[in-house]
């Protein structure tokens, strides 16, 4: 019997369904899966950033105990295995396509970054495979390497690829250059600002893993993989790399322990174990070690930018000019080219009514791990650039930083708002989120807190960030015209079983987002089925019709909307069945939360009555309606969604140690309609933790020779509990106008809005030292250096 409590629907902070298994050690992550007869793979990786491979001697390794096979790049090339494909093609200013060098799964003749896989060893146990990998002799001739983003374009820089002259991947632009120049010509003031957006390592806590399985009887391949989007992996790997038809290839992404973007991409190891499983006729498991993750998971960010802002005499923005260099690493990862272009430059209007914008972006190859989307993907880089620039500009124009922002905000009555860089924002209220945040953070009382801190010898600063971002990248036709090689719709199937329980098949994938709960709430709210009777199925191409996966905060806005459309179809069919059973006209049947009613009467049928009739069609309009109650919808959005808001951070700096402590953090975000407030708060808090990590702690550091210096948790500073504050999170809702749920997305707002709030606070804390800018991360060493230099100068 379906009895739904009112607390389970939209707006309820329902505790998560998935937690029971996770809390009892019953989650099933890829490394927890063991296939009968399974063997183990270890990748031998390059220790050099750039080298030719002169010879690989595997004879001794092949003779080691338990070794089943060893493969190198030439073995795959001999079978015409394709390169790892890129999913997005950017075009240069002159219309020519970007440079897109081949990315072999196993290196062919040359290695291009530390960690580039050179050989795979397959053995009965992982220890045996590791032992054998150590016995492979590779003769390398090291070549000069380039790791720095700016260094890559310098004349004479080492060439990463023959097919990319001068290490240039593309030289792209957006906006109206002539209009920008005209606006600058009449400006009262132009403020110039240069900054680097630090390179980060995503570091989901579950290391990547993959199991390749080949069924010799059917000829079918199965790949179990730590992926955010199994259907995309099936498409990319099947069609472009291994040439296996979709019908013969199943990709399963079971419980996945965090992604943050790093598990979107099709990785070489997935193709290697799948292909090799067909060779050795045994399942092959590969599980990444953390030090391997550092040198093989796609990194994030890594921009070097110059921005110029033109202001009139009243402090109104006249125009913006941006030049950005973006590091692609050694090869193009799946989404990499679109991150610094269509996910970054298109966001440069921010929350401001900037009349003209011109942005140029050059992407470069370096001898480093590929760089791709990491939580926020382009929008954190744009937001950081803009929001630091706003503080710098306000200071130089002698304006209050809050008033300066407010003066330039897009007003609520200007929506829908067309920016000069392609996006059209559908809704938002930046004045409202600002006002809420200022009050919640007690902005007005800050100077008292600053004085109190100063009396105790500490430097206190406050920083603000007002931001908008773009989620649920779409529509397919538009992204296709911009270079996407896939559609960006989502698929949802609602299967109402005969006795009324519901299975939802979704192409979105949950790796921490709580879909099994939130999506069940959508069904409870609309169909009146209690969440306990709703099962969410995701992450298996053999079960779910199709899907594009989870990234860019798209699951609810796109995937949830697909479910909503499928439920509309269920209700429409249910009404026809109900009309027959109640001998009424279809137009007279109403549906609300589980009950079909003949309008104005007490004649009703439950959803369960209808589903039973649909599957046991004894009294059924069989000539007009097919039996069964299952509907699928493909939803292709009309536009992105545009979450936005205001983050305020307060820091205290100990001038003797240079240590920055975040003492207060306030976030007011507009994520559209909130389905589960508890989960939304958790997503925002987690995003802010990553943003504070970027601002104060984290940096992927390469030396000039291309060695990754921050290659373990001993060297790369992950935020720990003691590094982070209690975070105050609130929401203010304006509805998305173009999807049926009114939702916008909450997964990335924290990581997008927070870094500039933190850094504006750091610079504010150092205002007596005449500091204009501090680069991320604001490590104690860096801050102490600034304070100490000032002390020496003062003496």
């Amino acid at each position: 019997m379906n009895v739904v409590t009112p607390f389970e629907g939209i707006g309820a902070s329902l505790r998560r369904k998935e937690d029971f298994r996770f809390l009892q050690g019953r989650g099933q992550y890829v490394d927890d899966i063991n296939r009968p007869g399974q063997t183990h793979a270890v990748m031998l990786r390059s220790p050099h950033a750039h080298a030719t491979i002169d010879r690989i001697d595997t004879a001794a390794a092949r003779a080691m105990p338990g070794v089943k096979a060893i493969f190198v790049g030439e073995d795959m090339a001999a079978e015409a295995i394709g390169g790892i494909p890129c999913g997005w093609q950017i075009h240069n200013k002159d219309g020519s396509p970007m440079a897109e060098p081949m990315h072999p799964a196993l290196a062919l003749g040359k290695v291009r970054h530390v960690g580039d896989p050179v050989a795979v060893v397959i053995a009965e146990t992982k220890a045996q495979a590791r032992d054998a990998a150590e016995a492979i002799l590779v003769a390398y001739t090291p070549l000069p390497a380039v790791s720095g983003t700016e260094a890559a374009l310098k004349p004479g820089a080492p060439q990463v690829h023959e097919a990319a002259a001068g290490n240039l991947c593309y030289d792209w632009h957006i906006g109206d250059k002539a209009a920008q120049e005209a606006a600058f010509a009449r400006a009262a003031r132009v403020v110039k600002f240069e900054t680097t957006n630090n390179r980060l390592v995503p570091n989901a806590m579950e290391p990547r893993a993959a199991i390749g399985d080949f069924d010799a009887f059917s000829g079918d391949y199965t790949l179990y993989t730590t992926s955010q989007n199994p259907h995309v992996i099936r498409l990319l790997m099947g069609a472009f790399v291994l040439h296996i038809p979709e019908s013969k290839l199943r990709v399963v992404a079971p419980d996945v322990g965090g992604g943050f973007g790093s598990k979107i991409y099709h990785y070489a190891e997935e193709a290697i174990v799948t292909w090799a499983a067909g060779k050795v006729k045994r399942p092959i498991k590969w599980t990444c070690e953390r030090s391997e993750s550092f040198m093989s998971d796609a990194h994030g960010r890594d921009h070097v930018s110059t921005a110029e802002l033109a202001l009139d005499a009243e402090g109104k923005i006249l125009g913006l000019k941006v030049h950005t260099l973006a590091n692609m690493g050694a090869y193009l990862s799946t989404f990499a080219p679109c991150v610094p272009t269509y996910l970054y430059a298109t966001l440069l209007s921010g929350v401001y009514a900037t009349p003209v914008i011109y942005a140029e972006v050059k992407a470069v190859f370096t001898n480093t791990v590929p760089v791709d989307a990491y939580r926020g993907a382009g929008r954190p880089e744009a937001t950081y650039l803009l929001e630091r620039l706003m503080d710098v500009a306000a200071a130089e124009a002698g304006l209050d930083k809050v008033e300066f922002r407010r003066r330039n905000f897009i007003r609520p009555d200007q929506f829908p708002y067309q920016t000069p860089v392609a996006l059209q924002y559908d809704s938002g209220d930046y004045h409202a989120t600002l006002a809420m945040a200022l009050e919640a953070a007690d902005w007005a009382g800050f100077e008292g807190r600053r004085a109190a801190a100063k009396a105790q010898g500490r430097l206190r600063g406050i920083g603000i960030s007002t931001y908008v971002e773009a989620c649920g990248i779409a529509p397919s036709a538009v992204v296709g015209s911009l270079g996407a090689r896939a559609g960006l719709y989502e698929v949802g199937t609602i299967r109402v079983h005969p006795t009324g329980s519901v299975t939802v098949l979704t192409g979105a994938h949950s790796h921490g987002q709580g879909h099994e709960t939130t999506f069940a709430q959508l069904v409870a709210d609309k169909l009146g089925v209690p969440t306990a009777n709703v099962d969410i199925v995701h992450g298996d191409t053999a079960k779910v019709p199709f899907g594009m996966g989870t990234y860019g905060s798209r699951s609810l806005a796109v995937g949830g909307s697909a479910m909503d459309k499928a439920m509309d179809k269920i209700i429409a069919k249910g009404k026809r069945i109900a009309a027959h059973l109640m001998e009424a006209s279809v137009e007279d049947v109403e549906f609300e939360r589980g009950t079909f009613r003949v309008a104005g009467t007490d004649r009703t049928k439950s959803l369960t009555d209808i589903s039973l009739a649909a599957y046991v069609p004894h009294n059924y309009p069989i000539d007009e309606i097919e039996p069964g109650l299952e509907e699928t919808a493909f939803y292709d959005p009309k536009n992105f969604t545009y979450p936005g808001g205001c983050h305020i951070c307060e820091v205290e700096i100990d001038p003797d140690t240079g240590r920055t402590t975040v003492v207060n953090f306030t976030a007011v975000d507009d994520v559209g309609r909130v389905i589960n407030p508890m989960i939304v708060e958790g997503q925002v808090q987690g995003g802010i933790a990553q943003g504070i990590g970027q601002a104060l702690l984290e940096a992927a550091v390469y030396d000039a020779s291309g060695q990754l210096l921050s290659g373990s948790f001993m060297d790369y500073t992950m935020p720990r509990a003691g590094d982070l504050p209690d975070v105050g999170v609130a929401t203010h809702t304006t509805l998305c106008t173009h999807n049926p749920l009114g939702v916008k997305g909450c997964g990335e707002v924290g990581a997008i809005g927070s870094p500039p709030a933190v850094m504006n606070a750091v610079v504010d804390a150092l205002r007596d030292y005449g500091v204009r800018h501090v680069e991320m991360p604001a490590t104690p060493q860096k801050i102490w250096g600034i304070v100490n230099a000032h002390r020496i100068a003062a003496e």
Binding site: R16, G25, A204, A721
Partner: protein, 168 residues
């Protein structure tokens, strides 16, 4: 190969392992108790924390043969036979202290040991410092700290100001 006898979650096992086998490998690969996770290779992340004789240990940093005769509790052994969750598990669920779930087993095992070692209770700051050995990339720790604050009161049989504040 060496033999080692362990009592895991109340059940005695005698297993053959290579001398180099880590406790976490014996648990995951030999006993198929996959609730204990491996998140790093430098003893930093704490996803592998189990209890050995009631104390938390990083099971990636101890050899199986060093555990001869010891009593091991893993995440699988916390809930009662009737399915009732341990107060720490219940608090993690109530306070939404987990997202992807990967760090959770180690986080819960560390948290229980932390509470057991502080019978007089911990402040929020003490809890944060006590989690030094456990990394979480999803939650920002905010709700983990709240869950532990609430669970310690249940485990110690009292309700404190901290729990009341956390509940608000």
């Amino acid at each position: 190969m060496p033999q080692v006898t362990l009592t895991v979650n109340g059940t005695k096992h005698t297993v053959e392992v290579e001398a180099r086998t880590l406790l976490v490998e014996a648990l995951r690969e030999t006993l198929r108790l996959t609730g204990t996770h491996v998140g790093c290779d430098t003893s930093q992340c704490g996803a592998c924390v189990v209890h050995m004789g009631g104390d938390s240990v990083k099971s990636c940093t101890i050899l199986a043969v060093q555990c001869e005769g010891s009593d091991i509790t893993t995440i699988e052994g916390l809930a009662a036979a009737d399915g009732t969750l341990h107060p720490m598990q219940e608090a993690f669920r109530e306070y939404h202290a987990l997202q992807c779930g990967f760090c959770t087993p180690g986080m819960v095992m560390s948290a229980i040991d932390l509470v057991n070692k502080h019978p007089d209770g911990m402040t929020e700051q003490q809890i944060r410092e006590g989690l030094e050995g456990n990394l979480c990339r999803c939650t920002g720790y905010h709700n983990i700290v709240k869950a532990i604050a609430a669970a310690q009161d249940v485990m110690h049989g009292r309700v404190s100001e901290l729990a009341r504040a956390a509940a608000e």
